[in-house]
Subunit: 205 residues, 3 copies
């Protein structure tokens, strides 16, 4: 098992947990919980694979993804009292997923021979799409459209990834470092309340 | 014409009617009605074909789908007074579509050489996606996320389908039996108000 | 550079501006503005390319699209005071995008050997999908589902395109004429308040 699959599957697991938490918070029935966990976990990878023509999509060809999603959802269900009380749990799982899926998205873009800028966009899209689906389906404003520096963290990680590739470092180290960068930026952004200014256009008139 | 195409086209027709009814109920203009009928009818099959890489998607390569959708929408329009007054009509068409598209989704998964569990997921996704699009676009909470045992009926039918395939029975009989199972489970679930327990987590604290 | 690419890229630019305007109107943060501009601009073409199996999708293989989107978004940002005050600006950019993407959608359908009716549907879907995404993500009712003759303009243009192809005229002229037809129909429809009757069904009972 390559470090690529490990990151991709770990990202799948944490997004499944974030989806399950969102669904339990909204009191979906058990099947609703499983469905939202699946959609959140496979959403980004599915979009990524479809856009680059890697079909049938990855999770259909390797059963590990589905087993991991079901196990993660079950875990979230068992520890739901603890996890739902921890207000930061949902946020943490979503953030780890963002970091991991950014890097696997960029990596698959490189393998498909795409331009570096496209790879970064692909990474950002595939890292955030599962969360967008989760938020839309559970009737929340998608996190990516809120104040937090969500997309920026992903773009920064993708950019560092492409830069480090030029250094010739061991690829596994680069994967881990850049995923961590995304996660750390987002955690710090929320902790210290970093945010980009809103477009206060009408106020000025 | 194979029984597979017949089921796929019949599913398309009933979903078109359910989409047209939803649009007329919300007083969309005539083009809005046609568009919602089309989106509901082709949504599931499109997702299915894209995920497994059966491109261009099925309804683009066989005009029967479009003609059937237009005819079904016209029929729904002509009988709108009767159909909109029958509160169960919408529900019935949606349920038949669920049954038929579950089985055609599972069947295409098998043909693509996918794992049985993936086939069931593919069947459930393609059976419910058109309805999700219909509900989102007509500003309803998707049926699949409500109390009724919607996804479970689809999963049960897909599972029975895979089991019966092992028996060596005539495939056409299996198609019909398993589609009927999905339809009957959902009808009974609503009639006797079967439902899965909600996640009443916050209440317990 | 063919006239096809010019129309496709111009459509991308105007949809990017319409997305940026919608985001600034809703006071998204700068990254939200860029993201909504990108999604609006590439949404329709992405759907179109995925449905016909033209993968990786067009904007991933030609950097012009991304550069044009970024430039258009920057322009919208610089002139935001003027553009947001002009109530018709948003509407105008959306309409030009509708006209251009209808024709490029129909053209790619023809190249994929699809039935003329499918080509028109493909053109209409790809012309309106970016706007649907934009409206859903900025929490508006999609324009295509409102009273204005949005889809009809697109269908009329696609139909004229297919008819003129039979005349043997120069293709570039046909492209321009039919795009203009879509734009003019929609502008006139709004100016003179043309609209299709709503389905006033419940009133009659």
């Amino acid at each position: 098992m390559t470090i690529f699959s490990i990151l991709d599957i770990a990202g799948t697991a944490v997004f499944a947990i974030s989806g399950a938490l969102a669904a339990m918070h909204k009191r979906f029935d058990p099947f609703g919980v499983v469905i939202l966990a699946i959609v959140t976990a496979i959403g980004g990878g599915t979009l990524r694979d479809v856009l680059i023509g890697r079909l049938p999509v990855g999770w259909m060809q390797d059963m590990t993804y589905i087993y991991v999603i079901l196990a993660a959802t079950f875990t979230a269900f068992v520890f739901r009292d603890k996890l739902l009380r921890l207000r930061k749990a949902f946020f943490l799982f979503d953030t780890i997923g963002l970091g991991l899926f950014t890097i696997t998205g960029v990596e698959l873009g490189i393998q498909a021979g795409l331009h570096p800028l496209i790879c970064i966009i692909l990474g950002t899209m595939s890292a955030s799409f599962g969360g967008v689906l989760r938020d839309v389906l559970s009737n929340q404003v998608p996190v990516i459209f809120q104040k937090e520096i969500y997309a920026l963290a992903s773009i920064a990680g993708g950019t560092l990834f492409l830069i480090l590739l030029e250094t010739g470092w061991e690829q596994d180290i680069i994967y881990v470092l850049t995923s961590l960068l995304v996660i750390v930026i987002r955690l710090l952004a929320v902790k210290y309340d970093w945010s980009l200014p809103q477009m206060n256009l009408s106020d000025r008139e």
